[in-house]
Symmetry: C2
Subunit: 341 residues, 2 copies
DNA sequence: CTGAAAGCGCTTACAG
DNA sequence: CTGAAAGCGCTTACAG
């Protein structure tokens, strides 16, 4: 009995390996062999196949291949936001390293919503990615749980996640170094613009670095000197407003991101507070912006592209079967002092 | 006779629809029906299935589904570079629109190499994307050919491609408007920083807009006033250097991108040429940078996010079977005049 | 309301 | 050196 299985209409019929085989006068097996360059194939058969492929514009179905081999050749990369300089640099690094090794990347975007991180991990799993890189922004329990269930190569970048291979920036020491640098220039009253603590790397570690540097030098911190923003220019602007309208104004500001630092710069300019004479400002991130703003912003370079590359290397190692369950890499950084201090 | 088909080792065995069916005590058909919510399923069967899915953490294989249905639910997006503000805004717009309609996006990156555009189109086809959006940077013949062979929903953004549904910025008029605005402020000697003509939109149309505005107002253009860069800050800097060291220096500069305009600003600052008193500067792109640089850069907003949204809508329409072979959409723009003029 | 079976497009162990 | 056939994990027309 013949049944017609009616597939979606209007779908162009792709040429398949079967068509190529027929045209070349060989079996599908042989076509597969020449395309994947494995197994013995006579010179003649090979030529016929290549010719047919060429003429028919044959493109093998990655899905069929993945399904059969359990390898997709793609690594999923989960970004908090697609639009940031940091993310793009990291992705560039990842892509370079991965492309050299024959992997592609599939980008997804959480729009900074923690629940989307989990959703995206599942999504990537359903697409059978061979590994996942997460640019992490938090460390909540449910996320950790989901990662553990994932059971395939996984590397987190930006936060140290318990039990997960992680590549992290040296947030604590970077902030510590900035504060010390400011102190060495004679500043005793240093204000701080941070972010909420759910982001452990940026929200907690950088703050601790700052606090500990102050403590080391026996400098006290007025509680009004610690302000918070949400990564935006505006929030930096507003934080600077608060820092400069209290009873005891600091002489320097350490903002945990360049964007907030530049927002702060905007506020200072408006209030005619001269930078660096009346107020020194330091950011973190080495954004393009930091270089072109006036006065040029002092900041710290996290070598994001290199971070991406190292993260990719870790995934690659796991792919090769090396278990790195709990490896941690801490990256280095570099202070860049410019006109704002 | 029993054969063992030996799949890649070390691959965790995913739970499949078959496992779920067994656990729930129903057939795969029924499982499929409840998961896709189509066809009749008894309340009891549904509950059993959902329970099993939950307990087993079952995630359906997107590949198997795509293979069977010929629909992947993903739209491929080809970007010239992942790192640009423009690209990220466009992607945000695309993603919003597409997500609302149940599509995901798969991003690829050409690193500005034209041959990679073609390569990426093929790649996306092999991954069975339901449609492709190309942020186009050139219009070479081979590219057009490849697009035509693609034979599935396709929209180009940024360049008008012959025979391809395209969404374009109003490059000609934007440049024209800038020049006229400068002229209306009394400038008669306007310099130009452009890019090579392989990028028709940016390289040709913006230059023509500028030239035609000058012509309309009977202003002649000294050939030294037309300089070229390659989208980088540095090239803008260097172009400005040439513009200010000739025999007849212009009193204003129109740079076709913000980055080059800001590079130019850097050069002017170094040479102590005051902006806007001695030299007005205008860019295009409304980058974050433009707002925060000093003096704040005048520029034109292309509403990139909206462009992304409209592009996505066009893909969506094609997906619904509407043929739009040759539709063209020209987007609007808005001049933003700030301190640099 | 439910299930057996075909088929999507590949790869690969096996037999020749 | 080559091919027939099984099987990857789904969906769906058909029969009950």
């Amino acid at each position: 009995m013949i049944r017609l299985v009616n597939l979606a209409k209007g779908v162009k019929n792709m040429t398949t390996i079967k068509d190529v085989a027929k045209r070349a006068g060989v079996s599908r097996t042989t076509v597969s062999r020449v395309l994947n360059d494995n197994g013995y194939v006579s010179q003649e058969a090979r030529e016929q196949v290549l010719k047919a492929v060429q003429e028919m514009g044959y493109i093998p179905s990655a899905h069929a291949k993945t399904m059969r081999t359990k390898r997709s050749g793609v690594i999923g990369v989960i970004l908090p936001r697609i639009s940031t300089e940091t993310a793009s640099r990291v992705v560039n690094g990842i892509e370079q390293e991965l492309a050299e090794n024959g992997y592609q990347i599939l980008l997804t975007n959480t729009q900074l919503k923690p629940e989307k991180e989990i959703e995206n991990i599942k999504l990537l799993r359903s697409r059978q990615v061979d590994g996942i890189i997460l640019l992490a922004t938090n460390r909540n329990e449910e996320l950790l749980q989901t990662i553990k269930e994932t059971n395939s190569p996984f590397v987190a970048l930006g936060q140290e996640l318990e039990g997960v291979t992680s590549v992290v920036y040296d947030d604590y020491n970077a902030a510590f170094s900035i504060a010390e640098s400011l102190i060495s220039k004679g500043h005793q009253r240093i204000g701080f613009i941070g972010v909420q603590e759910t982001d452990h790397a940026v929200g907690v570690l950088r703050k601790e670095g700052y606090k500990d540097a102050m403590k080391k030098h026996n400098l006290s911190i007025d509680e009004e000197w610690i302000q918070y923003g949400d990564f935006t220019f505006e929030s930096g602007y507003e934080a600077a407003e608060r820092l400069t309208s209290g009873t005891s104004m600091p002489s320097a500001i350490l903002a945990v991101t360049d964007r907030m630092a530049i927002g702060a710069l905007g506020c200072l300019k408006e209030k005619d507070i001269r930078v660096p004479e009346d107020m020194a400002v330091f950011g973190i991130g080495a954004s393009d912006l930091s270089k072109h703003v006036t006065p040029a912003l002092s900041t710290v370079d996290y070598f994001n592209e290199d971070a991406g590359r190292q993260t990719a290397q870790l995934i690659l190692k796991q792919l090769k079967g090396k278990s790195l369950e709990n490896q941690k890499i801490k990256l280095s950084y570099r202070l860049i002092e410019r006109d704002s201090v």
